[in-house]
Amino acid sequence: MIDKQVRDVPAALGGVEHGATVMIGGFGETGLPEALIDGLIDRGIGGLTIVNNNAGTGSTGIAALLKAGLVTKVICSFPRQVGSTVFDDLYRAGEVELELVPQGTLAERIRAAGAGIGGFFTPTGFGTEVAAGKETREIGGRNYVLEYPLFADVALISAFRADRFGNLVYRKTARNFGPIMATAASTTIAQVDEVVDAGSIDPETIITPGIFVDRVVAIGSRFENEMWAHVR
């Protein structure tokens, strides 16, 4: 019987290696797989290249991963935020490399990796610094920049609900990068609030088919705190 559920975060992270390229879902804190990030920190897996929209704020999540000295390079669209002090300090000290990618190009590069596309021409960034040194082309009267797929060894994502096949549904804007990152990594690991019986998620509503998911770990509701009583 297929069962992608694993018992805990350490089991979920088995095989993640030093030097890996790790996609991490989320847009700011929304949809961020915090339990899996904490697991990476606990295991002390270092030399990581991380792909995320941001570069962490405050002292938890990606900021904590950076602070633990486990990240060599960040590929993101928007590192500079209120509270992104951990990244800022490391970047200014030259201790972390930054590859800055426009958000839509980041998303499309991830999607291309998952969909077997070898490269694509995007109008985004043409004539700007992000196109420097890149191949450009006029197609149908418009100017485009050639961009390449972005693959990862591991994708860590957060979803709302899963079944044993790894089918996933998300909640609201926490969906963000999860569905595309799941397609672009050799191993995709999802933390979810709960794992439900096979067949109990309406097939029309599944956002990430299980084919893209290798392991699922249930971490319990993120809404048990009474602060979130109204969204439960």
């Binding site: 929209n53 669209s77 800022d88 999607r111 043409f126 700007t128 990068f177 979130w228």
Partner: protein, 219 residues
Amino acid sequence: MCADRLTRAQIAERVARAIPEGSYVNLGIGLPTRVADYLPKGREVILHTENGMLGMGPAARSDEVDPDLVNAGKVPVTETPGASYFHHADSFGMMRGGHLDVCVLGAFQVSATGDLANWSTGAPGAIPAIGGAMDLAIGAKNVYVVMDLFTRDGVSKLVESCSYPLTGVGCVTRIYTDVAVFEPGPDGVVVVELFGDFTVESLREATGLALADGTGATT
């Protein structure tokens, strides 16, 4: 200069009036976000947020906050009837594919031909950050910039050629400022509306640009 220039709220209100019913609109962070507050009552306009939603409602009151529902500025927001969610590749495909009718953005500079600079002042040591700005700039059918025409030092932000790093080339369709509304284009800038006691002539002097006078035309 003059006392009759528009306040920031009035700029937002002026842009809001220009957005027709049924439009799909993305509002950037800061002043652009305030445009939503001035949409005429009963006019249905559908707001897009880059992080994967159409039909975004107003900011969430404290008892409405849902950690899974935020806007591009990571601020908790609400959902309106008819809203939909989608992932990031679909959201940016929607933007890049020209499906948004209007996006409203702030700017450091706009050039006479509609080049936009709004992501970096190129200051040494500054941490660069692009986010969705470049996709919005080149994607929407109409790219409206809202900004004060002059910096605090009185330097025009509408320029012959941007000195700051570009966000997009020739992408701005209209510029709403505190003193006038401009339309940049391949043949230069047309002034389409004036506020207060600036004239096209005095704006030519203040900006150093060969502005065309389009204030007689209906906008």
